[in-house]
């Protein structure tokens, strides 16, 4: 299992558009990918679950990836957060 944390910088937080794109990145991978924020956890491959966390600017998320492609998944996910959120 690999995990990383990230503090959201985007003014609009994780709103629908980046949420959809983030879910599409996660869905490329076989690994189980979970995202946690404010003591709640969601499956990052499910857009409504992700949006139900209501992540805002300056809040921290933790992403945990478990599976055979976890290394490459973590790399791409980190890049996505850095470029979009």
């Amino acid at each position: 299992m690999q995990k990383f944390t990230y503090v959201i910088t985007a003014v609009q937080g994780i709103h629908a558009r980046p949420a959809g794109q983030l879910v599409n990145v996660a869905k490329k991978y076989e690994s189980q990918i979970m995202i946690s924020a404010k003591e709640k956890t969601a499956d990052l491959k499910k857009i409504l679950a992700l949006m139900s966390l209501g992540v805002k600017q300056n809040e921290e998320v933790t992403v945990s990836v478990t599976g055979t492609d976890e290394a490459v998944a973590v790399k791409e996910l980190k890049q996505f957060f850095a470029n979009n959120l």
Binding site: H15, A16, I47, L48, V55, K56
Partner: protein, 153 residues
Amino acid sequence: MISDMLKPENIHITERVSNWKEAIHLSLEPLIKGGFVTDNYEKAILESTAEYGPYYVLAEDFALIHGRPTDGVIKKQLAITLLREPIQFSEDSFQVRVLIALAASDSNSHIDTMKVLSNIFMDESKVSEMVHAKKPQQIYDMLIQMENEIREN
């Protein structure tokens, strides 16, 4: 929170629309007529759709039509349109019958409202309940109750 942003008169049931742009227009109409958003809001949503695809189609039968607060929101409000005949916003997105139009006046209330609505509609049976509603008042009562259930848990 939902009850502060939703009036029963802004809930409509329509038989069908010809295309997805008409669906967007119809869903935003109560917000435009009510002075909650400017005409630019619809324009901005169509432009974003052209650029990113229909980012607001979140599940089978369910779309949350919205733009940025800075795209022309005057006052926060929700409106709901239920289509009897489903519409598709793009070739590879879900068919939609429940359209919830959201105008949020700032980023935080935007995220908070989407959080509540996502929590409710994550449950497919809730979407299904709403799809089978017979009258606008029923939809209103359902949503208020669904929000209360979320808050209790």
